[in-house]
Symmetry: C4
Subunit: 201 residues, 4 copies
């Protein structure tokens, strides 16, 4: 199950690169033409980098949660499969964003996909961590801490949609907040949550 | 072997998204044009979602069966490889369905692929579970329960073909029955099959 | 290392399907047009099926050998990486064969790729199995048995090239021999090699 | 974590083959035409082979290092994710190099990507190996040995950029040095670093 989720993440992350296009150059193009053509892939590359970090972060969170989730029932499996579906879907909105980032509609598609992925991940945690039959060593404090972490990303993306409606660029850069807020959360909980050093599995 | 099967499933599931196209927009397209173009991918997205759930469900079933299959012989390996071939094949009929769902021929291709995948999975179980040299802790009851579960999906898809011949839309939506029937099976066997809580591996 | 090899195999097998094309249909195409268009993908599908089985078989062989190979040195790693490179390469000749199977040149490309994959796999086994520092429980008999199995596939593909030069169709169907010869080998060694029942890992 | 990295590597390696194109042949093409068309994919194939070995080598190095890294903290996770992002990115510069290898700009893109991948990998090792809380059994000597090995590849690629500016072909073949230098390093350290025989995991 964990191995399966890991597999979906790795493939989805690796597929992100597929939509960065190989330029088609006319014969006799100069070095400047080439540089220009490659430069036009910049928005695609930025979309690749942003998505890689958001999805990579989701994987980290997912992975940490599953250090506590030790058993599963049918509903958890279904929820987790729903979550993995949103992960598999991500390469498409990423590619669309890389090509047509100047449209508000495209940002809605991208941000909504990220929101769906994030809230499904949060639902997996909230569902499992509240059932002692499924998890081990989960204190109410730890449960809340991980739930807070999990909702940061989708909340920021959700709020970025109305923001982008009035000011597109601001909406598109609001993801920076995710990393800022997670850092603050980390800092606030550093004394309550024990040392972050964990055995490598 | 289990890891190998898991790998094939993850990659196949993730490849499903590749055939959702990135629209090509003329310069100066309006937001309405973009929404329209993205909307035209809706059938592809629906095909992605449907296939994800059917294949995801097959993975769950496969995974559960292999909690009992503890040894293998040459024939089981061959059967399992045949099953994995049908899984690897799925992205193609899915993409064709997403593009040309209005044709009966296309539904035949899709439903037949699903039928082949489902019956091969059932064959793996029936073959292995009948050989005490290959499985542990399989009672006749459990054997039948999993066999019943395994044939639900391919049977529904098989029957959907003649149904689609007379009424295409009804045929194409008959997969809803799969989830209904599985739920009923679950309910009927809930007292006989012990608690569905299993250690997470 | 084994997990890594498994991963390469799964992805390569799954990528095979990518080159089966989605037909482009004009508006108002009839069911017969659709069937016709899909039928034109038949050579691609056959190439997919053939390659799936040859590569799947290679994976089985590789997997069995690594039940005996318990340690590795630098040279084994390099050989294995060389082998994995030939596996990763396979989707290309397969796609070319699916599109232009009527050319002798294309068969040379395909058969040569398979030959390279097969002999590299055999080299991995011959190298490792001859070094007691790398393997456990390998008798000279077992060493020879696996070596014989490993060279069957590449030898048949190698010989298919001159055969295809004089009679293309015969060359292209000579892979049937692989499955026949392996079956005979299995039969001849059935008493010497102990029961084929192995724990599932 | 290790499994995740392995997964990213396997998918990235396997994706490399996707950009080797399937030629489009006019009806009635001769065998010579086919050979000619396939021959035009030669630069793509060479780019595939070169990248496969450089990335494969990086995987080996990464894998060896993680035999010593037994625990992780937040910063190591972030560094490792950064490293995996550079790995996922590689198929794009490889494809561009395969298509337009005659441009200096393209070499800069390719060599810079490799340099980024290599130095990030080195950073992972330098960070982790200097913290006794993260690693086991790392002597200062071993730390230096692996650090030296890790910087060889990116340094050669970095220096190949100015070299390619004055003499493109020389720059493009300077990667040969990587294999030469690693071999010398191996030889020099053979007595200090204990036997290279390791259990297969």
């Amino acid at each position: 199950m964990v191995a399966f989720s890991d597999g979906v993440f790795t493939v989805a992350l690796t597929l992100l690169v597929i939509d960065i296009a190989i330029p088609t150059l006319a014969k006799g193009s100069s070095e400047a033409d080439v540089m220009n053509q490659l430069g036009q892939q910049m928005p695609n590359i930025l979309a690749f980098v942003l998505t890689f970090w958001v999805v990579g972060l989701s994987w980290l969170t997912h992975h940490r949660q599953f250090q506590f989730i030790r058993r599963y029932d049918g509903r958890l499996l279904t929820l987790n499969l729903l979550f993995l579906m949103t992960v598999c879907f991500i390469p498409w909105p990423t590619a669309v964003l890389g090509h047509y980032g100047e449209y508000f509609t495209v940002w809605v598609l991208y941000a909504a996909s990220m929101t769906a992925m994030g809230f499904t991940a949060a639902a997996v945690w909230v569902y499992a961590s509240g059932r002692p039959s499924l998890v081990d060593h989960v204190t109410p404090e730890l449960r809340r801490y991980y739930a807070e972490r999990a909702v940061v990303m989708p909340t920021v993306f959700l709020l970025s949609i109305p923001l982008a409606a009035v000011w597109l660029t601001a909406g598109q850069y609001s993801w920076i907040l995710i990393f800022v807020i997670l850092r603050i959360l980390n800092y606030r909980h550093r004394d309550r949550i024990a040392a972050d050093l964990r055995p490598l599995v």
